[in-house]
Symmetry: D2
Subunit: 263 residues, 4 copies
Amino acid sequence: MLSPDDKRFIIRLVPGAEFHTHRGRIRHDDILGLPLGRKIMSHLGQPFVVLQPSTHDLIMNVGRSTTIMYPKEIGYALLKLGVGPGKRVIEAGTGSGALTAALAYYVRPDGRVYSYEVREEMQRLAVRNLTRLGLAEFVEFKVQDISAGFEEREVDALFLDVREPWLYLAQAYAALKGGGFFGALVPTTNQIVGLLKGLAEYPFVDVEVAEIILRFYKPIPERVRPMDRLTAHTGYLLFARKVQPGLAGQLGVAPEEDSSQGK
Amino acid sequence: MLSPDDKRFIIRLVPGAEFHTHRGRIRHDDILGLPLGRKIMSHLGQPFVVLQPSTHDLIMNVGRSTTIMYPKEIGYALLKLGVGPGKRVIEAGTGSGALTAALAYYVRPDGRVYSYEVREEMQRLAVRNLTRLGLAEFVEFKVQDISAGFEEREVDALFLDVREPWLYLAQAYAALKGGGFFGALVPTTNQIVGLLKGLAEYPFVDVEVAEIILRFYKPIPERVRPMDRLTAHTGYLLFARKVQPGLAGQLGVAPEEDSSQGK
Amino acid sequence: MLSPDDKRFIIRLVPGAEFHTHRGRIRHDDILGLPLGRKIMSHLGQPFVVLQPSTHDLIMNVGRSTTIMYPKEIGYALLKLGVGPGKRVIEAGTGSGALTAALAYYVRPDGRVYSYEVREEMQRLAVRNLTRLGLAEFVEFKVQDISAGFEEREVDALFLDVREPWLYLAQAYAALKGGGFFGALVPTTNQIVGLLKGLAEYPFVDVEVAEIILRFYKPIPERVRPMDRLTAHTGYLLFARKVQPGLAGQLGVAPEEDSSQGK
Amino acid sequence: MLSPDDKRFIIRLVPGAEFHTHRGRIRHDDILGLPLGRKIMSHLGQPFVVLQPSTHDLIMNVGRSTTIMYPKEIGYALLKLGVGPGKRVIEAGTGSGALTAALAYYVRPDGRVYSYEVREEMQRLAVRNLTRLGLAEFVEFKVQDISAGFEEREVDALFLDVREPWLYLAQAYAALKGGGFFGALVPTTNQIVGLLKGLAEYPFVDVEVAEIILRFYKPIPERVRPMDRLTAHTGYLLFARKVQPGLAGQLGVAPEEDSSQGK
């Protein structure tokens, strides 16, 4: 739902319910009877537009109040991790559920997301967010310290968004299937160093460190130029793949410089 | 399949077939009998690792010989276009099928991709690529000039990767459902201007112009630094959403500067 | 002068005068008697550090209240324009004098800056700024419309920071000496198009279009990472060189892609 | 001198001498008799254009065969270090003399550059480069290990382009005057960490870590877009200022995030 001042509201439509803003009330039943892309007036005569949310909208909506992985990182990570219909994926920590929502959306209908978080109240927030989006049924939420290990085995992919991911590499290796995809997000270059050192201790190959910068331009045809300010940094992404012991050294972990492989 | 010198080969396993490289032959039956992430020796004694490809690998493999949309753009576009299981999506042109492969992968099992291309031999290449990846069954390939319009109606999303996308906005508008997602990739700023002018003629809202820069770092813990050279530019992404006539002017097409909406 | 909360103040020391802030007063005479890099206390007991300003400080100080060219652009432009001791340089418009200050600083002691501006009150501000910095004596300020042409001939370099620089290329060409350096700053890609078209009408060679992105990192050794937000855009820089009529077509204006010439 | 295929040659004109390329010979006397910006034909009838070099050209010419600081870094560093006419500046190491050339160019006519290098043959190359450019007289070249300290005192600025700059901070502090400008270039994030830790041990304030990205655009008005590939990384710049002992802790070394100070 897009308001007259371009604000977005994501609501789950329930017959009989009402949507309230300072620009007036709208009855869910009225929205339910309307094709998408149409205008609907609030009881104060303010025009809203009814639109279904994109995955991008879902992610940004979930992250409204906390630090999150952004769509620019999530989209790339989905492709690098091979996440798709039917896959089984572990993530830790859950946070407010931004990545969880994207993973759940894309493993549907037969896949499964296992989401670990130590802070109970944080995961409650994520459960609420995913439930509102209709995606909670594809996720097993676990309030658990991952230093004790993950309960799943042979998962297709595993993503760590925690402060010291290098502490959990044995656990990650144990949970992944052969060839499984490992990913992590870290905000600082010091953490890149820590994680690369950790990965070198386990049989992982195909290590990649990447940073994604998203630049918006003013959508005015007479004055096309980048926006004045931009979010310069969310974090660095690291990816690797599990192989059987003994293979990592033999194959070399460093992609060649300027390879054509990863633009 | 990862070779000793870190080259990637994507092969479709067929009982009885053989895989040939200058580093020796491997029988598909031998690969089929092996868990993933394991080593397999060619008949010349060279070690290969058997891994399933990520979506990222699929995309890069398809694009090996032509200019393509890269994973950094594709991942973000998937989220912005709300592409996911069950969606119906149009794209034009097909090119060598890099975006087609990603769309097909993510609309499975119930969605559908309609892929238009005027150059017959180009689309033949794409069909071959998608067939090899096992994704062709989710795509309807059409060798057709889109100036005559698209044959589908009420599609969820539509993406134009053509030289003059502004020429086909009436056709795109007609094919999209209300609230449907429009996207395009253009390499030059002149084309941004052309497309923004075109979009202003039709009832589209929520226009965004973005550019994604991907930077790789050397994965060596003692010397973490960006790679020396990088692919500086693939193109600019534009997104918009279809609404009913009369709404665009009223709501304003320009997102506010520095909005929290689109990191 | 650096305050306890890391604010910068640039002051011209005058015997007998006093410096006032909400953190207390400091007598100029006390500062004059002190070696640089030392602490000085205000009458409220607040510690300040006395430092001479860098050229960077001078530029940022001048631009405090208006849109300006930033040091990242100015530093690069100085090198591209060959500005140095003894050079004669034209600029238009003056603005608040940020570029003027840098040019004046670097043409000293024998060079000269000719600075044109149509808005009288704006140039008054620039004169005040340059006077405060002790640089006004190297500049001839002119409140004049440059469409009537520049009064100087055979200048070494000329820089346009105006809305429609392509309107003044005949005037710029006339003022430059053979081989002279032309430069311009424009905020939008539309203006790049306009200026490139204009430059093609005159005998200019060696055309370059560049954009400079400056990224700051947090100076904390345990958490080295880019600052969260950054000024994404000031403008695009264009450079070219005057040659005799007939040479431009023959030599080609486009630098080769990926040339080693201009990193 | 610009060749028909847009190559640059920097030559020092000597009466009686000749300039040789595979496109033919040109007598220096003929060039000396010609205004700049004019065409001159080689004895094979190939057209060259005679242009004076910019500071940018000088720098790039010096660095032709080695890794160097690029104009994008040098321009910004000049402003941050307050280098200008009359200043006394130390640099180490000399390398092939790219930064040396820029410093010498800008401290003229009364300033002085002190350039330290341990590799004798490298400094010989730099001396040759600076002599060719007519800038050697402003530089004192020293083949010396800087761990023994610098011979100068009270210099205005000091720049380290060495592998482990944190080893020489006591020496740098001793050579700088109060408020003097310290700068360094390091290629890796690990070195940023090392240098920040080192700087915290000495009375330096106003620490800044920056990275400059230069992006070229194709200068074709119909297709304005970034060049396909770019040099992604030269290094990170660090700056700081010397104050008297005891002040650093009191004032805080970290600039506030998003400050308006340092665009």
